[in-house]
């Protein structure tokens, strides 16, 4: 046990990193646990979201007394991103910081804002930054998140996306102007934007390529209920047809759909997914495959480099597969987990993925493994009040609940109890 490290297992015990995750190796053992001591001095965390924030604070909570530097491309210290597509589109409220600025100062955490990492030299343990400076590290934690996907055909001047504070002003201006809004993509973000816009009196059309909003993830039974919720609250829902092109003119926008029809709009919002912000890491030696590949303990394929949050595709021992989860709650827990690994723990990160959404005043909640279900059983026809359970080979693997938080809590506990690595039995 290291003198400075309060973690159990500072002398790393390698866990099972079988399957695809075995390609991500842990090369930092020697450096970090030399002589039984955690000797990581300088930790650089790249990212400004909840994973980066939690990682930095957890390092301090665990007793790390070397440097901690957080490098964020955003102008604001880490803030609550979930507000952006919820309250902040309906009310004129400020960003909600995850901690007061003074907390970073008090904890000796250096925040470098409005600076992006542009290149990684893993051999020299240096990150090159956009301001032509570089930072050396003993341990590097990548919490770089992602960027909204905006296909070129849908990218006309003024088209809005939603992920960060920088996107908020444009979207707020759109909602303030009113008129006709077309939202392309019926996922959680698209649904929340549509909900906020119709609440503010806009004439909203939601375009979803699949048969219903959220259908790609949750199936038709739930998707049709979510579509019904939108329609009940005044959103026009166009399903089963994708948007082919968006063009802007002085009079507004024209959205061409795959079936040859067109929609007119005063504004267009695109919410068709997110891509990990890992372009700058190509050629760095890191294994990238739809995200930064790590083992179960957040260790990448490169010595002393770790990854967590939306950008990371990690080996989930209970699911026995690589997972990338783009949800706030999981990202925060991932940030805490990676801090432990940096300081020498080999504890696997094994969360029950969870996401919630507020749409039309209804709490939508999901927990579980989003892929691989073969059966869904839904109780309740009211789109504002139903429970859907997802099974694979008869075993509960996920639950989606509309408007019944207590039912969700019960089902979530059942899921959590059933989730353990196969080698630990049940």
């Amino acid at each position: 046990m290291g003198e400075r490290c309060r973690l159990r297992g500072c002398r790393r015990v390698h866990g099972d990193r079988g399957g695809d995750g075995s390609r991500a190796r842990a090369g930092n053992q020697e450096q970090e646990t030399r002589g039984g001591l955690c000797v990581t001095r300088d930790v650089v965390v790249v990212g400004g979201g909840v994973a980066a924030h939690r990682c930095a604070l957890e390092l301090r909570r665990l007793g790390h007394d070397g440097t901690v530097t957080v490098i964020s491309g955003e102008r604001h210290p880490p803030y609550d991103r979930t507000f952006l597509s919820k309250d902040m589109l309906v009310e004129d409220v400020d960003l909600v910081p995850l901690a007061p600025r003074s907390e970073y100062t008090d904890q000796g955490i250096e925040l470098l804002l409005d600076v992006t990492a542009v290149a990684l030299d893993a051999d020299a343990r240096r990150v090159q930054l956009s301001d032509d400076t570089a930072r050396r590290y003993d341990s590097l934690v990548l919490c770089v998140g992602g960027r909204p996907v905006l296909p070129p055909a849908l990218d006309a001047p003024g088209v809005a996306v939603m992920r960060e504070a920088t996107h908020l002003d444009r979207l707020r201006a759109i909602l303030a102007r009113g008129g006709q809004l077309v939202v392309i993509g019926g996922g959680f973000i698209g649904g929340e934007v549509a909900s906020a816009a119709v609440t503010r009196g806009l004439d909203v059309t939601l375009v979803e390529q699949a048969g219903a909003p959220l259908e790609a993830m949750l199936g038709a039974e739930v998707g049709t209920r979510v579509a019904a919720l939108h329609r009940e609250r005044g959103v026009k829902v166009v399903t089963g047809v994708g948007a082919r092109a968006v063009s802007a003119s002085q009079s507004g926008y024209r959205v061409d759909l795959d079936d040859g029809t067109t929609l007119s709009a005063d504004a267009v919002v695109v919410g068709v997914g997110m891509a990990p912000a890992t372009d700058w890491l190509t050629g760095s030696g890191l294994e990238l495959d739809h995200g930064i590949v790590t083992d179960a303990s957040c260790r990448t394929s490169v010595d002393s480099v770790f990854a967590a949050g939306d950008c990371a595709r990690w080996w989930h021992p209970a699911y026995e597969s690589l997972c990338r989860v783009e949800h706030w709650d999981t990202a925060g827990r991932h940030g805490t987990a990676v801090a432990k690994t940096v300081l020498g723990s080999a504890e696997p990160f094994m969360p029950l993925p969870f996401v919630w959404s507020d749409q039309h005043g209804v709490k939508l909640q999901w927990a579980g493994r989003a892929a691989g279900w073969d059966d869904v059983r839904v109780e309740g026809d009211d789109p504002a009040r139903f429970v859907a359970r997802y099974y694979r080979s008869g075993q509960l693997i996920g639950v989606f609940v509309s408007g019944q938080p207590r039912e969700f809590a019960k089902a979530r506990k059942e899921l959590a109890a059933s989730m353990c690595p196969p080698d630990q039995g049940r």
Binding site: D80, T82, K86, D87, V96, D329, F354, W356, R412
Partner: protein, 65 residues
């Protein structure tokens, strides 16, 4: 005026959103469950936002300020 903040421990999953929204009125306890430490630290608006923003709808606010 007294503000009553009720947190349903059975429903809370310890996401921690209420902690930063409520200016420290609410903290996570050793079990990772949200617990009120001092409701007066936050404004009623912040507490209501914490309740509305709770991912699991575990928080109920009553009272005026």
């Amino acid at each position: 005026m007294a503000i009553t903040v009720d947190i349903d421990r059975e429903v809370c999953i310890g996401s921690g959103n209420c902690v930063h929204i409520s200016e420290g009125s609410i903290e996570l306890d050793d079990d990772g469950v949200a617990t009120v430490v001092d409701a007066e630290r936050a404004t009623i608006d912040q507490l209501r936002r914490a309740a509305r923003s709770c991912p699991t709808a575990a928080i109920t606010i009553d009272g005026e300020q």
